[in-house]
Amino acid sequence: MFNFNPINAINSLAMDVDYEIPGGDEFRDITELFAQASAAMHSEQMIMMDGFSLHDAMSALEIGEPRLDTGMTIGTQRKQPFNPLTPLLPEELCWIIDRSISYEMEWHTSNQLVHTVFTLLYIHHFQEIDPDMLPYAHLLVRDPDRPLELVTVVLRAYVSGLLKSCDLAWRELVKGGVNDTEDWQADKCEVSLLEGWPVKAAIARLKEAIGWLMNTTKVPSNWRDALTLRLEFRLSLLKLQENNVFHDPATFRQLLFDARGLLSHIKVSTVPAPPENSPAHTAFDPYVARRLNTFMPIRVVELPPQEETWVKLQDWLDGWEELVTLAKIGDVSTWNIVGNLCNLLPTISLRPAYVRSSTQSAFFDGILVLNQYPSTWLVDRFFFETLGVHYNRIATFFGGPGSTRMRDVERSIIKTIVPHIRGQWFNPPRRRRHFAKEIFEWHVVYDILSIIITDLDYSTLSSRDSALVLASPLIPLYHRFSCMREIILSGFQLELYSANEKDFAYWYAAKIVEDQLNLLDKIIGVQVLLSVQETEAHQELHFQRVFLTALQIMCEAMFSLLVKSDVPRTQSWSQTRMNLMRRYKWAFLERYDDCETLPVGSPPRLREYLFDMSEVIDDELNPPSEGFSLAQSILSGLVESESNKPVPVFAGPSGRACVGGWAADWREERLKVLHILIETCENIGRVKDKSSCPKLKWDPKKSLWFPLLEESGRE
């Protein structure tokens, strides 16, 4: 009869390692030699290898300096040694799994792998818990509450699923749609994410573990269910990640549905933290970076409450839901609207970088648009979705699509649209910077089209055809104005503007919107002439015209309110001017000189701004409140008309023509934007005159681009 402590036996399996001294035994102690040399050296003397300078020495990492020396152990950071084969209770395992999901979500929130996922030590001992390597290990464990299979079968399967999930996410993120070190952190510290494993292998492990749990009698049924739920959820996530939204949308939707169901069950079965002396606590080492190949300073990531992790996962699934819905839509404008709404609505949080990157890849994977169209398809959509007329009809006058004269136009349109749509899923500051660069590209398209149309002999064309050709340069201009408006107004959402800059931003936005409205009148005029009023393009432009009218009035009223306010300016005009030149440097680019056509909408006319300022100060007849009241009634009318609009015949079964032409399934979100603006108008409209001295507060989470009256300042 054997007589031994099983835990110690297991420990000895994992820890009975003969540690070899690195470098081998053939070293001799020369510490004394260094001490003697130090005594012999004079104070300024240095001994350096040839070609190695003091400057080179400056870049050395100082050992013992806690901020730089990631390997240094401070007394309080020492913890019990971790033994991967320590048997665990099922509730301890559940806790470890939930905590590892939290860390995974923290990685998806732009933290380092080494500070999050890799703190789970089983990842670094993956081979040691392989049941194939421990054929007799389970015989050593006699504790019926802690079957070793929980570690070697269940936990190992879970870790393989977790790593494979991270690997699939890493592969998507590294495609370059989102930015490493900004949206996510790529450093793997030379730790394997099971790159060599096929996804099917991880899925098979998970299924095997689920099978073991279903048949075992070693785990109480409540914990067996809790563990099965978690493994099944990981299985669903893996399958979702592996599936392409285009190949089998029905399966993707079913998987999403299953994942949502599993997540809702997991949410209600929260696992309490095990007691302090539980071995489960040794499973995570926030200081693991000190022994991995990384130069990252140690940072202990504080995990949020578990509920927050579930919310993040929910958000992840929502992002996929949005993606699978978008994937079936072949209208570029809808993609554009959805991208805008994601950035606009305070109710939609910024999706994880992984979901944003997947969305970008779904739109354009480097070869095909929406997994089926060649990039030239975008040129047709560009004209069709704004003008309501197919590209062929315009290109015919210049030799047809793909002709020598049109090739530059097509290339520049594709070069601008693809990054534009993908850019909608950048992080907000990056998106704004991208748009600031993009407005020049739109000008180039406008420039090329403007030049081409001057070569045509209009005497041979009908009035309709002439109008159509002459309207074609207006399309890039329309998109350019939209971008400029977004750059200016998103500055409020990003809280970029100082108090001295805000009135100018509203003034400039109002001017841009005014120009865009004039342009819209022209395009809509052409649409009417071409009898395309029944198209989504016309519906969209009609919606935009009313919406932009209200927005322009709001911007003008806001400019007026700020100029009239008693808040003194803290800058001279010359300082303000310099600031504006810097802030709006995208509008003052010298590159525009390379084009034949003058830029429209930029640079802002600063003299006109000063003139408008003085006019507003003297204007007693048009208080800002009237402007807000007018904007409110326009927006309310728009909401009413769009909400009650019957579904047009062309709209299809989803009623997609409501609220503009291209909002598709996002009509409710578009209406939400209108409602927020209506509430803003109502709120700021309370300021009747200067004496009421409003105290305004810009809170992008509540009111998009405009301020609200602070509670104490309300009348």
């Binding site: 994992a14 820890m15 390692v17 540690y19 070899e20 001294i21 690195p22 470098g23 053939e26 070293f27 001799r28 102690d29 020369i30 510490t31 030699l33 260094f34 001490a35 003697q36 040399a37 130090s38 005594a39 012999a40 050296m41 004079h42 104070s43 300024e44 003397q45 240095m46 001994i47 350096m48 290898m49 190695f52 080179d56 020495a57 870049s59 050395a60 990492l61 100082e62 050992i63 013992g64 390997g71 240094m72 152990t73 040694p81 971790f82 033994n83 030590l121 000190r290 022994r291 991995l292 190949n293 130069f295």
Partner: protein, 99 residues
């Protein structure tokens, strides 16, 4: 370590060779010796850091160029082979085989 060189010259002869330095928290650094100063801040290049013990990293991790202050050092070691070659050179010089 008897040879004709003084301690400073001996140290110079060890430049570019591999040193093994043990520090107070138990870590061992293995890297090429590239320089030092009077307070004995030792510079190593192409360094690997090792930490022995259960759950540690006996396989080492690359830390590149490091500066180890004297106060952190508990032991400095050089390769036998290098020291023996240098000792032999010293003996040969004393015997007049090498001028």
């Amino acid at each position: 370590m008897s040879n004709s060189l003084g301690p400073i010259d001996t140290l110079k002869s060890l430049l570019r060779t591999t040193l093994r330095i043990t520090v107070t928290d138990g870590r061992i650094f293995l890297g090429a010796f590239v320089g030092t100063d009077k307070p004995m801040n030792i510079l190593l290049m192409e360094t690997e850091e090792f930490r022995l013990g259960p759950g540690e990293n006996p396989n080492g991790r690359y830390v590149g160029q490091v500066m180890i202050p004297w106060k952190m050092i508990t032991k400095i070691e050089a390769q036998d082979e290098v020291l023996e070659t240098r000792d032999q050179l010293g003996k040969d010089m004393r015997a007049g085989y090498i001028m």
